[in-house]
Amino acid sequence: MPDRKAILVLADGTTYEGTSFGYAGECSGEVVFNTGMTGYQEVLTDPSYRGQIVTMTYPEIGNTGINPEDVESNRPWVEGFIVREAWGPPSNWRHVESLDAYLRRYHVCGIAGLDTRALTRRLRDGGSQMAVLSATDLDPDRLARKARGLPSLVGRDLVKEVTSSHAVHWTTGDWDLEKGYLPAAAFRNKFGRVPRIVAIDFGIKQNILRMMVSHGFDVTVVPAGATAPEIMAHSPDGVFLSNGPGDPEGVPYAVATVRELLGKVPMFGICLGHQIMGLALGGKTFKLKFGHHGCNQPVKDLATGKVEITSQNHNFSVDPASLGAAARITHLNLNDGTVEGLSIPSMRCFSVQYHPEASPGPHDSRYLFTRFHRYLCGEEEL
């Protein structure tokens, strides 16, 4: 079968030729690189990648195909997918579909066969860029113009594109090799108390919800636009602020809601949720040069001195200088010293920039769900 050509053109005009896989169309977005060697299916379905074209630095992608379990939402969210080698016939006992067929089904454009390391170095040295990926228009100049005309992620509200439309009671727990996803009932009897939490869905990864259930919470998910009174109407023991795509400054309504909730109810935030909390506390966020996207970021817990290997996916970061004295920095990134965790005992809330739910990535940080549970049960201080 003859390979269909595709090209990727960055806003600065750099052009990469490759072959098309998945859907042979055109897409655009900010190009970011992810350094994880496993977990491409989780990456594809992570709503935080809305607005972004993802390139995997590991070259062999698609080896294990696609299975019905390893999803973080019910569809892929990446705008486009860039790999060195898009593997054909998958090999894994759980697969049901190939990567190519899956992307075609969801009209996600892929490009393979290009020098993804050169692209990664370009993004590392020059910062993230907007780009157009096309299998239908192979004119680099036209695509470069298109790329330059794309709106930046800064200040944009991508959350509204990925959040759920109505409140849902979530009842699926952690995954087991033999039994698959376990129901909430499988975990309930392990816990004396099952605090009720409301999770605000800014583009939530399902594994956060599964972790919440298996760590002894009763979870209700509400849309990003839910107001403070709507949230409090569920009479939660705690509120969870989820991950999500883009710039926290693009969702002022969410910041306002969180500001209103501060001090009224204990809160735990992850990723975008952490940034929103930072803004609600009066802090500032800034855009990182190329973000953190991968499964090997070392984070130090300043209280214990221990290092966690964390899963990360974010482009913005909370500026520590902008935070008031009430906020304590609990975790730092050992690679670049950026803030990875905050705790505000007076407001009964804490947050982390990274992903303790992993999926993909190491499970080193799951203790945070336990911490939230124990905190809500009065067994642990912040």
């Binding site: 060697m37 977990g39 062999e60 090999s91 990664t120 001195g305 290997i309 993909p360």
Partner: protein, 1090 residues
């Protein structure tokens, strides 16, 4: 946490000689550990019996003991040095076992030595199968079902619980020797009987077989703060059932989803914590059922390992170096990542390429044993290759093997008639039973139209790997069908072939393989490729998938858009490494390469290393200024030279591999440093060599070059039998044989090697009862200095690599030594040697013959350097760079006051049915060195270091051929004075008794029972002296040698060795062995603490 200040002096134990399963990876890890600890200001005391290691260079430790690694000897060193701590985890299984013994003997406690890295309890928990299983059960993890038995009846009781297929392992044998697999009751009973016999304590472990399951390994590191990271995941292409050392392995794991991988990662974290490895690296092996994902834990090594060396090279994360720093108290986040410089070591490397390791086998050396792979490791070396895709890295690894394969070469299936059913049957057999060539049979199967599923069914190999191979074979078909067009048009319009060439090169096809498939010359492929602009680019190994800038030029080639080589404008030299370890070319050559690098760096050159052996010090990115992890083929080396533009290339340090490239590289205009390829040819070409000896008035054994069988017969008749036969251009005595008559000669020429115009056979008169001498010398073109003269213990006829030798010589006269020195210098001058030269002499009845001259680094260079305290390889590199020996201060011979004995170490125990008799074909894998004040004690140390347990009393079995009977008397008399008694077969017994040596008699093996082999098995024999008596008796004495081997009874097959061992035993009895460091021997010792 800061480093510990309560420790001042730390002892490290190396892994001893190179054996199958323990190769130069432990020199790599040990050298890193030495460097790391000294960097931190600790005093390092090192013990290792292997002189061919970099770590035993006196620069790497404060006190270097080249002494036998036994608990007794190490105990003496501890008593003398009083170290504060012992780091037992960098010396392989040897280091760990010694630490266990030292603890159990109370030596560590007596001298207050702390085990750092892993405690005694942790080591035992990981090493003792029962304790390990209990620990795993506690964690809720599964290990294969198993049970220990002491009789057939017990075995039959436990097998229903374990089930078939079952693995049968005799316990307490050396290195997992002789495990077997039983698929049914009959095989089981047979296996149990054999295993009970094979186990010195008659204990056998029966284990559930997980054959066919997917096999994975994780390299795990932990620090004192309980931070744990996974450095690398490795997936074996060969499923369970093939020892991981013999498996093709790939990093990272390819066929696990993140969820499945995290199950394994979580298990690894819990295991290292439960076992209690406080600091450092461990390797954990897992098996995963291919259809259910069920996971079992196979084993854990609480130390650095072969896999950790591979993982270090595969990721750029130096496990051993970091393990050493963790052992003294640092935490991972306090250690900097050398490559990125700005990020800490507390992270998990991510890679953006695929790494493939392929083991290197030498079944051709042991024709009596079948080429079959199982749970017993048999490979002697390995290669690693890096590519952007699996296909590229696999094909690069294949051509790195230096086995004459440059891709998926077609297999010759000789015994098969051109009949598809028979062919299919042969291929099926080759796929079902793992063997060293299985990869290539898979290629054949795809050519025959087998499906991925059919091959998976036969091999158990994951379809992902198979589909990749299928695609390679399919591309070969495409290349073949483009051949005609390529031959017609490519030269005139190369650009038209750019997409084709780029795609094929990107999938790892070598020029040589392309040439074969296209029907053109290799050089044409390269020329056309260059004309089309298809050239290799270089990418960096950076631990982080390009997230951070790499400051260390650790490079691999690929066919992509961006080139990151960024060569400097400095004055630079390329040093070519030795490639995979094999018998005949091992760590000694890596030692020389690394010295070359050090020396040239001192001379102000930028040093560029090229090698593909992941076990070595040379492929540590820390060793050279720039490292290219690449195959050592003309294509790959030339591309690097074109990229770097060095002032020259050094080929004489890496053994035959780079030497073979000298002429082809020079033909491409590359400057070869040191002795010219012309001189090398003059020494290698037999006719030109003979002319030169004539010119110099030197003698060689009568010889001739046979280009046909009648030729050979005529030459042999002229020069007289016995004759030594060998193909030209060989290393390690490959296919070398001594024949005693025409019948033997004809058999050799039909079965082993055929003589032809292109590949002549060399026929030399074999010198009987001659003493062989090895000489290493160095020359700068003006001054020649003999580095060392070594007298072989075994007579000429035993390959020099297999023979024990003594420096200085122990029996030849000063006059002869002077004459040998004169001849060596004459040869070096005549050949205009610049660098090193090795000459082999034979002395027969006072006459000196020259056997061979090699104008390059020899296997004995490290031994000689350590014996005389002069780094010959380093001096040679400086000489090649233009320095003079006068300026370097080395102008006269050094004759040490001490005696150094080198002894070879053999892999026979790993190969069932192989005779242990030595001959002209090299069979040893490694060597040890014994140093002491007398020949007897030095020889004794060498024997002990080689694993012999020399008896101090007991019964000696003597069986020698008639002409040796007189000759055995001196040895027997010494042994009698030492209190030994004798037993012999009828003839020898009568002879000994008649000469005043009372002797019991015993039956020969073919005379009924009990016979001599029974006595050996019953432990009644302490020592065996047995010289073989011609072809027929060889078979009889074979059983004696094999039984001695299995029961680890010292046996000697030459009179010279018997004499030497008698002296060694008497020295042992007279005087307990003392220990002394190299620094003290060479007078360079600085005072140390305490």
């Amino acid at each position: 946490m800061p480093k510990r200040s309560d420790l001042k002096k730390i002892m490290l134990i190396g892994s001893g000689p190179i054996i199958i399963g323990q190769a130069c990876e432990f020199d790599y890890s040990g050298t890193q550990a030495c460097k790391a600890l000294r960097e931190e200001g600790y005093e390092v005391v090192l013990v290792n019996s292997n002189p061919a290691t970099i770590m035993t260079d006196t620069d790497f430790a404060d006190r270097t003991y080249i002494e036998p690694i036994t608990p007794e000897i190490v105990g003496k060193i501890i008593e003398r040095e009083r170290p504060d701590a012992l780091l037992p985890t960098i010396g392989g299984q040897t280091g760990l076992n010694i630490a266990i013994s030292l603890h159990e003997m109370g030596i560590l406690r007596k001298f207050g030595v702390e085990l750092i890295g892993a405690s005694f309890e942790a080591i035992m928990k990981a090493e003792d199968r029962n304790l390990f299983r209990k620990a795993m059960e506690k964690l809720g993890l599964t290990v294969p079902r198993s049970g220990y038995i002491r009789s057939l009846e017990e075995a039959i009781q436990v097998i229903p619980d374990i089930g078939y297929p079952a693995i049968i392992r005799p316990s307490f044998t050396l290195g997992g020797t002789g495990a077997g697999i039983a698929y049914n009751r009959e095989e089981f009973e047979e296996g149990i009987r054999w295993a009970l016999d094979a186990s010195p304590k008659r204990t056998v472990l029966i284990e559930q077989s997980v054959i066919g399951w997917k096999e994975f390994e994780l390299e795990v590191m932990r620090d004192l703060a309980d931070n744990v990271v996974i450095v690398c995941s490795i997936e074996n292409l060969d499923p369970m059932g093939v020892h991981t050392g013999d498996s093709i392995t790939v990093a990272p794991a390819q066929t696990l989803t993140d969820k499945e991988y995290q199950i394994m990662r979580n298990a690894a974290l819990r295991i290292i914590r439960e076992i209690g490895v406080d600091t450092g690296g461990s390797n954990i092996q897992f098996a995963v059922h291919p259809e259910t994902g069920e996971m079992v834990i196979i084993e854990m090594n609480p130390r650095v390992s072969r896999s950790s060396a591979l993982a270090s090279k595969a990721t750029g994360f130096p496990i051993a170096k970091i393990a050493a720093k963790l052992a003294v108290g640092y935490t991972l986040d306090e250690i900097r990542n050398d490559i990125t410089r700005e990020t800490p070591a507390s992270f998990e490397p991510t890679i953006d390429y695929v790494v493939t390791k392929i083991p290197r086998f030498t079944f051709e050396k042991f024709p009596q044993t079948e080429d079959l792979l199982g749970t017993q490791m048999k490979s002697v070396g390995e290669v690693m290759a890096i590519g952007r895709t699996f296909k590229e890295s696999l094909q690069k690894a294949i051509r790195s093997l230096e086995n004459g394969v440059y891709g998926f070469e077609e297999m010759i299936l000789p015994s098969v008639p051109p009949n598809p059913a028979a062919r299919r049957k042969t291929i099926t057999g080759k796929l079902r039973k793992p063997n060293s060539m299985r990869l290539f049979y898979i290629g054949e199967a795809f050519r025959d139209g087998w499906t991925v599923e059919e091959i998976r069914e036969a091999t158990g190999i994951d379809p992902w790997f198979l589909e990749n191979i299928r695609q390679i074979i399919a591309m070969e078909g495409e290349i073949r069908s483009s051949a005609e067009a390529f031959r017609k048009d490519a030269a005139s319009d190369p650009a038209a072939f750019e997409p084709f060439l780029h795609r094929m090169k990107g999938n790892g096809f070598s020029d040589r393989r392309l040439a074969k498939l296209l029907g053109v010359a290799e050089d044409d492929v390269r020329r056309i490729r260059y004309a089309a602009g298809v050239r290799a680019v270089y990418k960096r190994v950076d631990t982080c998938g390009a997230e951070f800038e790499a400051h260390t030029p650790y490079l691999y080639s690929t066919y992509e858009r961006e080139n990151e080589a960024e060569p400097t404008g400095r004055k630079k030299v390329v040093i070519l490494g030795g490639g995979p370890n094999r018998i005949g070319q091992g760590i000694e050559f890596d030692y020389c390469c690394v010295h070359g690098v050090f020396a040239l760096r001192e001379e102000g050159f930028e040093t560029i290393m090229v090698n593909c052996n992941p076990e070595t010090v040379s492929t540590d990115y820390d060793s050279s200024d720039r490292l290219y992890f690449e195959p050592l083929t003309k294509e790959d080396v030339l591309a690097i030279i074109e990229e770097e533009k060095p002032v020259g290339v050094i080929v004489q340090f890496g053994g035959q591999t780079p030497l073979k490239l000298a002429v082809p590289l020079e033909a491409e205009g590359v400057r070869i440093l040191g002795t010219s390829p012309e001189s090398i040819d003059r020494a290698e070409d037999r006719e030109r060599f003979a002319e030169m000896l004539n010119l110099l008035g030197l003698s060689q054994p009568p010889n001739g070059i046979a280009r046909s069988t009648p030729d050979a017969v005529a030459i042999a008749a002229r020069i007289g039998y016995p004759v030594l036969l060998r193909p030209s251009y060989v290393l390690g005595g490959r296919a070398m044989e001594i024949v005693h008559d025409e019948e033997g000669l004809r058999r050799y020429l039909t079965e082993a090697v055929s003589a032809s115009e292109a590949k002549p056979v060399l026929v030399d008169r074999f010198l009987e009862d001659a003493i062989e001498i090895d000489v290493d010398a160095i020359s700068d073109g003006e001054t020649v200095v003999v580095g060392g003269i070594m007298e072989h213990i075994e007579e000429a006829g035993v390959h020099s690599g297999d023979s024990a030798c003594s420096l200085p010589p122990h029996s030849i006269s000063g006059e002869t030594i002077a004459e040998i020195t004169r001849q060596t210098k004459a040869l070096a001058s005549e050949l205009s040697v610049i660098g090193l030269m090795n000459v082999q002499f034979a002395i027969q009845r006072g006459r000196i013959f020259i056997l061979e001259v090699n104008p390059r680094a020899s296997r004995t260079i490290p031994f000689v350097s350590k014996a005389i305290g002069v780094p010959l390889a380093k001096l040679a590199a400086k000489v090649m760079a233009g320095r003079k020996l006068v300026d370097l201060g080395f102008t006269s011979e050094i004759v040490p006051n001490h005696v150094c004995v080198k002894e070879a170490v053999f892999p026979f125990i790993k190969f069932p049915d192989v005779d242990t008799l030595l001959g002209p074909e090299m069979k040893s894998t490694g060597e040890v060195m014994g140093i002491d004040s007398t020949f007897g004690t030095a020889f004794a140390k060498a024997q002990i270091a080689a694993g012999m347990v020399l008896p101090r009393s007991g019964k000696v079995f003597v069986s020698v051929r008639d002409e040796d009977k007189e000759g055995v008397l001196p040895a027997a008399e010494v042994l009698k004075r030492c209190g030994f008694s004798f037993v012999a077969t009828l003839g020898t017994a009568a002879f000994l008794t008649a000469h005043g040596l009372p002797c019991d008699t015993v039956r020969k093996v073919n005379e009924g029972r009990p016979h001599v082999a029974d006595l050996i098995r019953n432990g009644e024999i302490a020592l065996v002296i047995n010289t073989p008596l011609g072809a027929q008796s060889k078979a009889d004495s074979y059983y004696i040698r094999r039984a001695s081997l299995v029961y680890n009874i010292p046996y000697f097959t030459t009179l010279a060795a018997a004499r030497a061992v008698s002296l060694a035993i008497s020295a042992l009895i007279a005087d307990d062995l003392s220990v002394r460091s190299l620094q003290e021997y060479h007078g360079t010792a600085r005072p140390t603490g305490r």
